[in-house]
Symmetry: C2
Subunit: 357 residues, 2 copies
DNA sequence: TACCGCAGAGAAAGCCCTTTCCCGCAGGGA
DNA sequence: TCCCTGCGGGAAAGGGCTTTCTCTGCGGTA
């Protein structure tokens, strides 16, 4: 691999001059030498060793990002926002997938620190796990102590800059919509209960029901992986236990799509027999049939904000930006079916199989 | 930021010893010193500078990957395969999105070379662009000359290791299926014509039609972006020009989903009035309604193979692995509608609007 | 003519680590 | 007693680059 001194030797100049030409330094170099250096670079196909450069330079430029999985549309959208700002500022992004494994998350913080990133963005749900949270905070604090900037997306027990989707209000909107449509037997297909995202969305849902003097019993909730298959499976379990459900809230769109698949398999018409609500409004939501009624989160914008926070000037007080959730009405949520409405308040009548409620 | 010598000083040992302890060197260190070093590391929250390590060590470990867009399901699946093997081997992946921009692709080759990756994987379609291809090959050759390994996924005019999805046969299978179902008025929603993926799939399609003594005129093809919106738009244009189409082949699943959206908007029933075929079999294909009939490519496996090639021992002759395509019959392709079948061979009768054919 | 200042180039000091080489010492064999 | 061996540790040489500092030679001023 050709090095800078190879280039310098070939051009008949010192490494210092070669470096200046290659990096467009402000120090003037005569045109003749410049030409010679450039020629040598081309001939040798020279590419500077990025690690040596990073070592020699003082300022760090790359930004580290930890997401659960970039190929999950939720994070893909956020990442798009992050990228947009980063590219504008000429920053390189290092993106790591934690696959929702706390240990891996911790490791990646170290790794990125080791790679001398200028800033760190945690773009995943927080965990209800004190030991983990403490460890994470220790590492982040240590990192910040050395001048690193940190921002989190979502609720973490971290006391720095943060952008927070309003999950709770989102859950509330979903609940209110379903109540307005007359649903009473509402099942929830939830993500892992250890995630703050799950619990926040649930809390909002509960609040909406509470306003109607009702509650959401645990038996109407099934926790599963936050993906399509998790949603399909949780929906099946929910239906097995409680065939009289008239609505299902999935705590993200991937799960909602899984739910739709299960309902299709079981021959339940959406929304005529049963309504489905998603969450996030990922791009595919409008393309499933029927198109998914869901709660929109400004995902791209969340990424934009987080990156801006971290690359902007540091504020003395940590900044927390809450981004609003919004209900998007499409075709999967409808009024409660007539047959069921008639039985509201009386003993539930099983539509098929045994009622387990 | 704490450095190794900080640790060494605090532990009262030399940097050499500290390094040995931290890296688990084979050289023995007494337990006492080991303890002291470890304690110092913990107290200082020391993390080795990855760039310094890479500079000091001789062997390069990371692998560079250039894809069009990780968040596109096609590449997400391939990446999953790449990751699997890389993780097994303890390799770090650097993934770059070129967004189908040849210049960016070239830049990323340089960038990754600068980052001293041990190998490079190009996981996107090739381009029909001689100037670009030449430049790319120059860069790759230069890289290989310095000991780097290269593998491409898809057809590139690069003479090294490659894994090739059998796009042509895939196109052929799609065409044959449609012919078997009696379709004659077949429209194609194609990706950018500059991509080899597009032309290969088209070629297969043409071959299938040719076997029936028919051909695929250019006016039945619309080229657009290889994504959902491209598919939607191309389908609209196709339908405007030729309302009598009984089948549409989309050259990837994202476009097929866009096509489905347009057809839904126009009130055309799939597959009763018009059939749709996709390509790739990305995960979402089974979740749209009706479920997408498509040509499956072993995407994950393609990633696995490519990474194995590049991390395995170098073979004297470049290895090319062709991975087979396979038709997956679901619900979007059906027999030609009766009304249309009756008019085959005679002057086409417009079903709605003006026939432009 | 003597001196100053400055432009343009090079020498060399890091940046932080790994690893080879070397040294001192203790134990064992002759 | 002397020498050799082997072990645990440190000194120091890179690895490839940037950047400060230093030097040379030239044109311009007093």
């Amino acid at each position: 691999m050709a090095t800078l001194s190879d280039v310098a030797r070939r051009a008949g100049v010192s490494p210092a001059t070669a470096s200046r030409v290659i990096n467009g330094s402000s120090k003037p170099v005569t045109d003749e030498l410049r030409e010679r250096v450039l020629a040598a670079v081309a001939e040798l196909q020279y590419v500077p060793n990025a690690h040596a450069q990073l070592l020699a330079r003082s300022h760090r430029s790359a930004v580290g990002v930890i997401v659960h999985d970039v190929s999950d549309p939720y994070f893909a959208e956020i990442t798009r926002g992050l990228q947009r700002v980063a590219t504008d500022q000429g920053r390189l992004l290092m993106i790591c997938n934690s696959y929702r494994d706390p240990d891996r998350e911790l490791e990646y913080v170290e790794l990125l620190r080791g790679h001398q990133v200028a800033a760190l963005i945690l773009a995943g749900s927080g965990y209800h796990d004190e030991a983990f949270t403490r460890q994470l905070n220790e590492k982040l604090t240590a990192y910040e102590a050395t001048g690193g900037r940190v921002a989190v997306i979502g609720r973490h027990e971290h006391s720095g800059d943060a952008v927070m989707p309003d999950n709770r209000t989102g859950g509330y909107l979903a609940g209110r919509e379903l109540c307005a449509l007359g649903h009473r037997a509402i099942g929830v297909v939830a993500g892992p209960r250890i995630l703050t995202t799950t619990t926040d969305r649930l809390a909002g849902l509960r609040q909406a029901l509470a306003e109607q003097g009702r509650e959401l019993p645990e038996r109407r909730i099934r926790y599963a992986e936050f993906d399509r298959d998790g949603g399909a499976e949780a929906t099946a379990r929910l239906l097995d236990a409680d065939p009289d459900l008239t609505a299902i809230v999935a705590l993200n769109d991937s799960m909602a799509i899984g739910a739709l698949a299960t309902l299709r398999t079981r021959g339940l018409a959406v929304p005529q027999q049963i309504s489905v609500l998603g969450f996030d409004d990922m791009p595919i939501a409008r393309d499933v049939t029927p198109a998914l009624t869901t709660v929109r989160l400004p995902l791209v914008d969340m990424g934009v904000r987080a990156m801006s926070l971290v690359l902007g000037v540091g504020a003395p007080t940590p900044r927390v930006e809450v981004l609003p959730a919004e209900l998007v009405r499409r075709d999967t949520a409808g009024p409660v079916p007539r047959s069921t409405r008639a039985t509201v308040g009386s003993a539930p009548r099983a539509r098929r199989g045994d009622a387990a409620s």
